[in-house]
């Protein structure tokens, strides 16, 4: 296992965590303000998405011109293209949880560093939700 690959992943994650803190996305009240379109709407967080998609698009455009990534064997592109019921239902449930709490997975994981009890409760429940999905899927006949 090349150390370089681990260091690159650590650095990528670190950059994301710093970006979350700088952008305001770490603050659940700001996130809920952004979602509060019928009330005191705070549109600033739309600029986070704009900045993120801009930089990510450049990375994607570059990646498409390469044979493979610099430190791994091949690009692991998502393969599913069908817009199906699990996609829509899952996104809808996620949105409800996001709106209730102001947390999505990235900021919640980054905020673990604060040691705040509400963050730990949220992330623990998120892991339980993920495990529940895994258990349910194993219990169902394969799709």
């Amino acid at each position: 296992m090349p150390m370089l690959r681990l260091a690159a992943a650590l650095l990528s994650g670190l950059l994301s965590g710093i970006g979350l803190a700088l952008s305001g996305l770490l603050d659940p009240a700001r996130v809920r303000g952004f979602l509060d379109v019928t009330g005191a709407w705070d549109p600033t967080l739309a600029f986070v998405l704009a900045g993120a998609v801009t930089a990510s698009s450049l990375g994607t455009a570059l990646a498409r011109r390469l044979r493979g990534p610099f430190l791994a064997d091949a690009f692991d592109w998502p393969t599913r293209t069908r817009i199906d019921r699990p996609l829509v239902l899952g996104a809808a449930l996620f949105g409800i949880g996001w709106g209730l709490s102001g947390f999505c997975p990235g900021p919640a994981v980054a905020a673990l560093s604060t040691g705040l009890r509400p963050v730990i409760v949220f992330v623990a429940a998120m892991l339980v939700g993920m495990a529940a999905h895994g258990a349910l899927r194993r219990g169902l006949p394969s799709r």
């Binding site: 994650g13 970006g19 990510s56 069908r82 009890r117």
Partner: protein
């Protein structure tokens, strides 16, 4: 820096992080996917390497806010309005929903929209819509 400028600059960093992870490691920096991947046994070979790089990315993510605090001279503002039971319920929905829907704001939003994936565009529209509806309903019921 104005809040618009810091939002855009922070967004650029998040997007650059996703671009780096893709160009160096070849993978989509979807946080819900990386977190769920931790539950799989590490093992040997390429799967084990992917597991360890996922761990390293998440470790970096957790280190981000303290490093920001060091650089900026203070922690970013965080105001958590929801009570612990609401946070627990919301966490369950976010965990289950992001697995069922194959991604969250990072995988579908930052990475999927950049790939012009129709699947991700639908997911983003749905979770933004249901999030906005949830906050609006909370406002009516409160």
């Amino acid at each position: 820096m104005s809040s618009f400028a810091s939002a855009f600059a922070g967004g650029l960093q998040i997007g650059l992080s996703a671009a780096l992870f893709l160009l160096l490691d070849g993978r989509i920096a979807g946080i819900s996917g990386l977190v769920a991947g931790l539950a799989r046994p590490a093992g040997e070979g390429p799967a084990g390497e992917a597991w360890r790089t996922g761990c390293a990315f998440l470790a970096g993510l957790v280190l981000g806010p303290p490093v920001f605090a060091l650089l900026a001279g203070g922690w970013p503002v965080m105001w958590i309005e929801a009570s612990l039971p609401v946070l627990a319920f919301a966490g369950l929905l976010v965990g289950f929903g992001t697995r069922l829907g194959s991604g969250c704001t990072s995988g579908h939003g930052v990475c999927g929209l950049a790939r012009l994936s129709p699947r991700s565009a639908v997911a983003v529209a749905v979770f933004l819509g249901s999030g906005m509806l949830t906050v609006a309903l909370g406002r009516v019921l409160a």
